[in-house]
Symmetry: C2
Subunit: 532 residues, 2 copies
């Protein structure tokens, strides 16, 4: 009974693959035993010897949709990384001196400096006494003043309208208009969100309905950013995969979409199609033709479009250009532009600002049924409003200093510096990864990640199995343990069966990135030798 409990707990830990503890790790600190994967819950079960069963809320009776959700970007690898960091702090000897977190698109954590102007505007709004300070430029003061006038009691501490501050929504609309060459944008269709994630989950929440064969199906790319699969699970919707074509630069193929939506109609009600452009984790930038294909497909199949365009500023390849779904939709003429329902998402967390912690974002809804839009407003109002400092950060992203303004030069230098640096790192990463035997990386055209395909020898696959792990999870755990490099296994994003990948960010400073890539190269070479 006791043994069975342990076994169940370990199985559970493996299945969830979630909270790794330092319990059960051998004295040598080796991670290679299944015991080290016992969850905190399982460990507690052992301690409590069954009292667990008395609880009102248990793993067995909790929300099954939440239980089923997975989110690899902050999954077991990252928890293991935190443990190793703690061990290093406590003086434990390792073949490396620090953990390098290349698992998440968190630019500032990797040393990227904030845009001065953005922080000045937020600081002025936060502490209006700073308006007296000569340290702050006039254009920053002017923007802060304008935003505060829109705040209740001229305070950042007041709730904004649930949709976001008026003046910021107007600025977003202007930004979108300029970006799209003058196609009109209506501030009433702009919603300020708590990062893009919040917007995406909110729209998904509106979409889901039905039971059994009428359950809402949502099409997502594979590989995907796991917010999508996690939200689909939480909302009890049906995930419909469409595969991006790795051999063809992660291209999106209309026939692949068609095939999968047709198959899905047998068991659910496909209602929406999610696209990530530039791609996460795949880094491709979609061509105008590809976007037209997607829109035509959505029109023909009556699908609602969710366009995750948070990397719209992160384009590195000279052959590529960002085309917004809205602009392409508009250029396809009224038959499409008056009918296809589209929501586009953007964020302060990416681009050249990298302000993840502020949780700023917006979405623009196009052709949404006004009755549904009223419901959207109601849904947002339950959470009152998105954080106002994040709204201010979003405003600076869409309303940066203009030529002639005091901060323009410095802002432009900072912005171009960051974007050039990212482009250099994208190139470097792609180049080095492609020199590694048994590794292949597509062109890194945009976003912030490389998603190389890795060859894993069959001996390693068998060894992974004995640890109850996916082969690429095994690979990434080994990489972390041996080099301190934290990347996310491709299985967390989805990949074609029998292929393996990992996602790494390109955000480290160049010199550190060079070392990291060299370390990956050495690790991979040794890994192949060891499991040959």
């Amino acid at each position: 009974m006791y043994a069975a409990g342990v076994r169940a707990a370990v199985d559970c830990g493996l299945r969830l693959g979630w909270r790794l503890t330092d319990r059960g790790a051998g004295p040598a600190g080796a991670w290679g035993s299944a015991a080290s994967l016992i969850t905190e819950g399982a460990a507690s079960l052992l301690r409590d010897n069954g009292r667990n069963g008395d609880r009102v809320l248990t793993i067995g009776n909790m929300n099954p949709q939440v239980r089923a959700a997975e989110y690899a970007v902050r999954g077991p690898i990252v928890i293991k990384a935190a443990e190793i960091e703690k061990e290093l702090q406590q003086g434990s000897q390792k073949p490396f001196t620090e953990v390098i977190r290349a698992n998440i698109g968190d630019a500032h954590a990797m040393g990227q400096q904030p845009i001065t102007f953005l922080r000045q505007v937020v600081a002025l709004c936060t502490d209006p006494e700073l308006f007296e300070s000569p340290q702050f430029p006039a254009d920053a003061k002017e923007r802060a003043q304008r935003i505060l006038l829109d705040c209740g009691g001229q305070s950042l501490g007041s709730y904004s309208a649930s949709q976001g501050l008026d003046c910021i929504r107007r600025d977003v609309a202007k930004y979108v208009e300029t970006r799209d060459g003058g196609i009109p944008a209506d501030p009433d269709n702009i919603y300020i969100t708590t990062g893009a994630s919040d917007g995406i989950i909110t729209i998904m929440k509106l979409l889901v309905s039905g039971e059994g064969r009428m359950r809402t199906g949502l099409m997502i790319p594979i590989p995907q950013y796991p917010l999508y699969s996690a939200a689909i699970s939480e909302l009890n919707a049906v995930q419909i995969n469409y595969y991006l074509d790795e051999d063809n630069g992660w291209a999106l193929d209309k026939n692949e979409l068609k095939r999968n939506v047709n198959a899905a109609r047998e068991y659910c009600n496909p209602k929406a199609l999610c696209i990530i452009n530039p791609g996460n984790p795949t880094g491709q930038v979609q061509s105008k033709k590809c976007i037209e294909d997607v829109i035509t497909f959505a029109y023909e199949e009556k699908l609602f479009l969710l366009a995750d365009e948070v990397y719209q500023e992160n384009i590195y390849s000279k052959d590529c250009k960002f085309h917004s779904f809205k602009k392409v939709l508009h250029e396809m003429g009224p038959e499409y532009s008056n009918t296809v329902e589209l929501v586009s998402f953007h964020s302060t967390s990416k681009g050249y600002t990298g302000e993840c912690g502020f949780r700023g974002g917006y979405m623009e809804v196009i052709n949404m049924d006004p009755e549904v839009q009223a419901q959207l407003e109601k849904l947002l109002s339950v959470r009152l409003c998105s954080p106002v400092p994040g709204q201010v950060a979003m405003d600076v992203v869409v309303n940066p200093p203009k030529p002639g303004e005091e901060s323009y030069e410095m802002f432009t230098l900072e912005k171009m510096g960051i974007l050039h640096n990212l482009a250099e790192k994208a190139k470097l990463t792609e180049k080095v990864l492609n020199t590694i035997p048994g590794m292949r990386c597509n062109h890194l055209q945009g976003a912030m990640y490389a998603f190389p395909r890795i060859f894993i020898p069959s001996k390693a696959i068998i060894e992974a199995e004995t640890h109850g792990m996916a082969p690429d999870m095994f690979y990434c755990m080994r990489l972390l343990e041996e080099t301190g490099i934290c990347v996310v296994p491709g299985s967390g994003f989805g990949q074609k069966e029998g292929t393996y990948h990992f996602r790494m960010t390109i955000l480290l400073p160049v010199e550190k990135l060079k070392v990291l890539l060299q370390n990956i190269k050495e690790f991979h070479t040794k890994f192949l030798q060891k499991h040959a």
Copy 2:
């Protein structure tokens, strides 16, 4: 067909009672016709002449749980208030010159000044160049420095751990320990949230499961804060009401709890009990005895406790004291304190800080199954982290200046000034409302609201019916139109059948509050006369 469409649209607008537009309002600006309640959606339906039906996402096929949710605090009254404000701006003549928003607990919007120290710490974290400035006191710099050291890349722009920054969770734990006379608090059980609302919805999300008779039931007080009913609807759980006893100072009666949980077991699976203390909208402060009763009840009935304690600093009556659920639970001895599952919620939005826009909050989970707790962490990780500026604001709330520190005196003056002022306004509001014939207000012991019972004559009830409105909605709409005062009808919070109330905040500056109360008195007197 066309006429039927209009009718359906109008009905829908009335049913949703949501987005009021200025379309259909008569030339005199009278609101008293059903036409003025047409939703934007309905108006669009008229314009589009049925194209609506072609959309992928419609009011008919959207998420029915979202459609069913209601959130009165930002409902039709508030939308109407915004319209009236716009009309005033455009020079429209009204019997008043401004709309007074007494509908939402938004202190800064009502003129309350931010706590200087809090804003200084957030500004320093936002713009570290300010560390050079002599304008900022040493203790603010010390706190900002400590928080930044905990941030990736020492930047507020990095994602924090999903649970919140370590040092802030430690500060929260210390605050809770001090508040509760030394009962230990574990930082691992503290989660920084996006306001309290986010925490409450997250815990509810963990709790819900089952279908049909096994659907999760959640007990909530009536009157309630409508976040609860809205979240229950969104999550497709079952709302189990328990009524607070208005004739007995909004007391919570154990027999009432018992009766309702028993009745609910016939059709659902009651799993949790929500308590709001101090009460919103009702303003009572629960006695220790009452809390013991609630805990005993939860223990006996195997219910998970959600304690909404966001008004814990807002106690105005000298006879009252805030008792935390955690402390009372602990004092009841190990049989209870080791078993009863409890989550307590707090926020930066209330208390004396009133920093709603920062969306700061925390929750402490007690006796939660560690496996479920691991799932909670996973669920939070999908949304990455709560806004870091809000986390910093939360830190100041739990870690304010200490005696001997540079900012202590000023901080204490500001804090006591705000709390004394709130206490004065609570007393004033209760006193004046109780001088109005046909109105009765219980003791206003805590929180930020008055929830007086109002007598509505049967003639007015009949007139309300002809407008398709609840009687108290009709009353509040009239109040808004005639005086510019925006309060929320009791029907948005729930009330005993046949009784009517409204909720108003006590946040206006004293002199303005006096005028507002006088205006309510005059309005009410005239309303009774008119419908006598």
